[in-house]
Symmetry: C2
Subunit: 420 residues, 2 copies
């Protein structure tokens, strides 16, 4: 007698999971040299003005504008050049009336100077004396202190992911450490009597535990710290023990395999034996991946990923990714990495027509267009995701995508390369 799955709409399933779990990411302080890619746990506020003092926008002469306010071709003004100022310098003393400093682009204005006249607008009268033939106003050709960033300004919001330019920016602001969310630890358990851990084992009919290796990279790219807990055989007691071990070590547990409704599928029962509420989602209206599910024990999620590789990937994308994001201090969903593309050929769906249908695709560029080439094959074929770089999701009750239709290609970090 087969048990039945209660298939849920994908959005509904994710919402139920997100509202049932109790995930409170912890905080830690890291030096900015190690903060690349981390999620800020606190707003970052500038403690300084950038630039810290007025700087020159050009190579020229720093002057007191009042000295040149009446300057003209008919009545030029002569100023004495008292020194040279380069970036990182401000001049040894202030500028007195009738004086100027030679100043280069990006250098700080000396005290009392309030304008810069470009080299091209001056003439050298004699050694250390220049002539100005145009009127100047205060503030001309300079970048005022704080133009770039003002002190007390919030430069990054909590939840921001630090990029290359951001860690550099923090250095400029002289912020040496930041408070970030601790990366969630995600345990991976592979279930199945057919699995072996190491390819060196002389078991030609067994399958190497390769999904765990793949999933560990997806976790890493999602911002988590993967911990591979290895294989457990198809045994209810052993699976239960393994999951309990995972719950002790990790913030999130992922199981791979054993979550359908066959006689050897013990993962659901094992979770329900551990505690409450137990399995809250089992079955999602998306294919492949439809037998994915989530259990919750004391607020901690256990994501049940199916064992066929395409299903493993889709289950991960739908149910594991939002949880890893939440546990990383990010919103559950992320829409950036989708591309609009035209589908290269017809795709027809024959089973589970009311479900969303996932099609793996390879993206190719043709001139300015992105073409999505569908990679079609049975769900057991492991080479399909290898031939693909992304996937599209077709709404339920749509049995065919016609060649040339516009589709949205999802890129799951880890499944595509930035380099190709």
């Amino acid at each position: 007698m087969r048990r039945k799955l209660s298939y849920m709409d994908v959005d509904e399933a994710v919402k139920k999971v997100v509202t049932t779990v109790n995930i409170k990411p912890e905080l830690e302080v890291v030096p900015i040299h190690e903060a690349y890619g981390r999620v800020l746990a606190k707003d970052v506020i500038s403690g300084v003005d950038i630039p810290p003092s007025d700087i020159s926008h050009f190579d020229g002469y720093a002057i007191r504008a009042e000295d040149a306010v009446h300057a003209s071709v008919a009545s030029p003004v002569s100023l004495k050049v008292i020194g040279r100022i380069y970036p990182g310098e401000k001049g040894e003393r202030g500028v007195n009336p009738g004086e100027a400093y030679y100043i280069t682009t990006g250098a700080f204005l000396p005290e009392s100077a309030d304008a810069v006249i470009m080299v091209e607008a001056t003439a050298i009268v004699e050694k250390d004396v220049i002539k100005i033939c145009k009127t100047m106003r205060p503030g001309e050709n300079l970048i005022p202190a704080g133009e770039d960033v003002t002190k007390e300004k919030t430069v990054f919001k909590k939840g921001h992911v630090l990029r290359a330019q951001d860690v550099g920016f923090l250095a400029v602001l002289r912020i040496g450490k930041v408070k970030v969310f601790r990366k969630p630890v995600v345990a991976i358990i592979s279930s199945g009597d057919e699995l072996i851990n190491h390819m060196e084992e002389n078991e030609p009919l067994k399958t190497v535990n390769s999904h765990s290796l793949m999933v560990s990279k997806l976790i890493m790219e999602a911002g988590g710290v993967p911990v591979e807990l290895g294989i457990v055989s198809d045994n209810l007691i052993k699976i239960r023990e393994k999951i309990e071990g995972g719950l002790k070590k990790a913030d999130i547990v992922l199981t791979i395999g054993g979550c359908s409704v066959g006689e050897k599928d013990f993962v659901l029962r094992a979770i329900n034996l551990i505690g409450k509420p137990g399995v809250i989602v089992h079955g999602i209206k998306r294919k492949p991946g439809r037998v994915s599910g989530v259990g919750v024990i004391n607020g901690k999620p256990i994501v049940m990923l199916p064992g066929l590789i395409q299903s493993t990937i889709i289950g991960f994308h739908v149910l594991a990714l939002p949880l890893i994001r939440l546990a990383s201090g990010l919103p559950a969903t992320n829409l950036l990495l989708t591309f609009r593309a035209k589908i290269a050929e017809d795709v027809a769906f024959k089973k589970f027509i009311p479900f969303q249908q996932v099609t793996f695709v390879k993206m190719n560029r043709e001139k300015d267009q992105v073409i999505a080439q569908p990679i079609i094959g049975e769900s057991n074929l492991i080479s399909i995701p290898v031939k693909a770089s992304g996937f599209i999701v077709t709404p339920g009750h749509k049995p065919v995508i016609k060649k040339g239709e516009e589709v949205q290609v999802h890129l799951l970090p880890g499944l595509f390369s930035n380099h190709q």
Copy 2:
């Protein structure tokens, strides 16, 4: 007397650089657990069939099709069930005429069996005896050996970047090690008297060497190994020594700052003092970034990046990225990470009109559309790239982009986050 730059078209400059340098990436062998993100230096050929033997596509009974070739409702065939086979198993012995094995999805067919009849198409007559009422043909409901991958098939080409699914796939193929290109070492030298290495130094008017930190992350994301060599002052001899040191340690040297035509810009002269051919590109027809250049010494490139941050980034994208890619075993250019977007407002260009113009933009999603919000400001503002997530390049002689125009947004790995 100012020296002049010889501005080159960007494509021409890149071509000149790529054809002048002599970069031969080295190879190394890595275990697949450490091969994620690496570039294959050799085609990978499967040594096995996947599946290694015929497997069942359903839960059912493995039979000899000839036993059921005349089966029908009127004349059913009874078979004796001699055992059960699960994934990773093949049955203890072959199937004799009149026998069947119960078999689950993904399990290997026993010897002599050549078809699977689905459970639903059979009836249990008595303990260990089933009845079949339909004719069967050889090969029915099974996945033949080699359906997924055949032995001797090239599964990955040289130059392929290994993704999560690829390292898993290698494990399935029982390929434990792969030959990849060694990651190129890229040295970073920051030049400028205004710089300090550490923000703890009590020098409020000096600038922390933040660009080196940013560039090191861009190098990492491009596939290189960054080595920060710190600061060198604006001194021809010292810059020359520093670059010579970088050339000894690294495959590529990047300098930041000191490459314009001012009195303190010594980098070009330093490179030309070291050897031949020296500087081969100085000035590109793209703004910001126009004073970028490349020198070559004994085939090894030194990329001269300008010191203003927007220029540093664009110089990196135009001239350093193709070289790091080449040294990684990849083609020099990469077009994947561009998005079509609509520009949110007019952008006007006033200087260097014949040049390509770069505009930093923030990408926002509005329904199905990507909107590029231009981030406008002077080239010295360090906060501009922090506010942006990508950039667009407008062709030369086009002084304005009109609101709503379609643009291509370039995403440089490191400058945007996969997570936001």
